[in-house]
Symmetry: none
Subunit: 209 residues, 4 copies
DNA sequence: TATGAATGAGGATTCATTCAT
DNA sequence: GATGAATGAATCCTCATTCAT
């Protein structure tokens, strides 16, 4: 904001190779995830992208619009990653395992529903629809993978939407840390394993209960 | 500003029976849950409590402090309710079922972690600790119930903290509605049943893995 | 805004006797008249009133609302002044003369229609109605005075609304100054006289047309 | 931003026949009249002219300069039209009638003084002079017509500047509409007739007063 | 206990303007 | 002749917070 820090020194190649609009979106996405909608300010988006606020507004007319774009991008990444991983020809359990591992390392792991909820009062009808749409698309893609396994008999027949949601819900648990920074189990790998095991057992049909 | 916003004449008995400080806390709790930390304003807390903003500040020095009190109260309620329900002498499954039912009807059902996260940057060290403490207390209480069942052999031995978290996490799923307002299953009862089934099967030990 | 100039020295009695809300309105009215809606800034309203911007917003929720209040106040003053002058028992011509004289000395003399037009895109439905209403009220009051004279036979029967508008329109001419600061006639009194003469002759019925 | 807002393919002949600089001026003039100086944005001038903002700045260095050009053009049009109409050899009253009719149909009919006033704080010394000059030129031309009639004895001897101003002032009244969209008289023609009659009677010398 | 009045600090948004290409 | 990208400087508005009474 003050004393333009922009032109000092040579910009890192990596940074400048990416178009400004994309860089803004990346920064914003990160900020929104870290801080939520309200806590993240357009000022900081600009600052961290090394542009002025006006530049941010040049590309995104409002904060709500920038947020919408961020969510859509996020959903796309999640969808593509998930589908990519789930479409390999390893055993289904292995694929799930890999997916959980990837997610547990990703920045991406917020309870998306929640910060969408926080932003909701600031979004207009159209933005809400766009976000809902992109969210459903992501869910549908993951759901389709599950559905395929059910058809193949690998997975018991089930309400796919339900188990998709459960899956994405337990996925979030990999991020848990208590006040001492400890997860549920000594190593992340163990946590992942236990989550998968829990999920896997959970979705089995009730045979003898 | 002008023209007293408070009702003229005699206040409703119900309203006045409750001390102002408590009424403020109740309003605030509801507002925070509905709108999150940032979206909820001290102005609206005051307005809805039928007092002035200055009165709110008379009882709670800062918004962060009010929030802290709200969370602590919330945790207490959740803890007491959970323990009460889990301590009856029905079968464990029935008790879980009842618990899920109660939660799915409660306003209380937000992903608490998330709005705590949203408030975090506004809280000071001490407030953070208080909140963490009350959260853990709640968890511990529920955990203790699970642990008891494990000891009795009703529940397989397990990482109690882990399954407590899973339980509270899937609990949230009862609130799910798609864009058409539909839950996962035709009736809420079915959804509850399915969630319990998932959880119940999930915590069984892996016999043949 | 910076380095509060407020508390230095003793506030002038005159200034402090008037409630802040009124002082803000006075400043704003003057500013809007001098500079128009867009050119007048809330910052300057605050500055000139010796309060902070937030104080201005404490009393008036938006700039549009402040503007609306200013117009309404202005109309009231104009109406009251006009009616007061027009209701004395001098000859009608003398009363008109006095009215024109008063107006030509008043700050009040802008083409009101025009700065209302400038503000219009910023006003909401309700504010527009309020303004229209207060404008009509003013016109109606002046109109009523003209109508009374017509009934008394002092003034020829005529479309009162029409002549009221003409009157208010030519009233504005008293303010004319060319690039050298000269009005139409050597002295303001002469200009006033000529305007009245024009108006007076204009409203006479066409005898020989 | 992205996705050319201009029409693809071959531009309409009509559009391209006119040089860009002129098209910009036309758009700007219309916009300034419709919305006033501040409300009209360079962005919209560009948008409506189907060029980019940078193109507008290529032809006009600042908004104030564009405004100045618009006013000068406007004055020229008004002057030429007025003179053309006033120079025919019909009776003077008929010519005035025609003039009023033309003006009442023109978009051009704003109280020019007022939006000049609105723009004033944004204009520099030179621009102010240019505008004043072109305004005076227009007035002088109309004044000259009036003066000629006075010499011919058609019009009573009078302060020509004064009656020119009065004339242009009452001209504006043709545009009046109340909140129901009604003018002063049932038809525009009647209104025009009444305005002329008023003006005509108004400027007669006081013979018997 | 409770409040009306006032404020400081920030945050979103707009817009005329510049400049390298 | 024309443009896309970027910016500086306002400007409106919000909100938690304070303080005298």
């Amino acid at each position: 904001m003050s004393g333009s820090p922009r032109h000092l020194g040579r910009p890192r190649l990596q940074e400048q190779a990416i178009p400004t609009k994309v860089r803004i979106l990346q920064t914003a996405t990160k900020l929104f995830i870290e801080q939520g909608y309200k806590n993240a300010s357009m000022d900081e988006v600009a600052l961290r992208t090394n542009v002025t606020k006006a530049t941010v507004y040049y590309y995104y007319k409002t904060k709500a619009e920038l947020f919408t774009a961020a969510i859509v991008g996020l959903m796309k990444i999640i969808r593509e990653n998930s589908v990519a991983i789930l479409s390999t020809d390893e055993t289904f359990e292995n694929r799930l395992h890999k997916l959980v591992t990837v997610f547990s390392h990703a920045t991406v792991n917020v309870d998306i529903n929640n910060f969408i909820k926080e932003a909701t009062p600031s979004l207009n009808e159209e933005q809400l629809l766009i976000i809902q749409h992109s969210e459903e698309e992501m869910h549908d893609a993951v759901e389709a993978c599950f559905a395929r396994e059910m058809e193949k008999g690998v997975l018991p027949l089930n309400n796919t939407k339900f188990i998709t949601h459960i899956f994405l819900s337990v996925l979030n648990m990999t991020k848990y840390r208590d006040s001492n920074g400890q997860g549920f189990f000594p190593t992340p790998e163990q946590t992942t394993t236990e989550i998968i095991r829990f999920f896997w057992k959970g979705i089995q049909p009730s045979t003898n209960d």
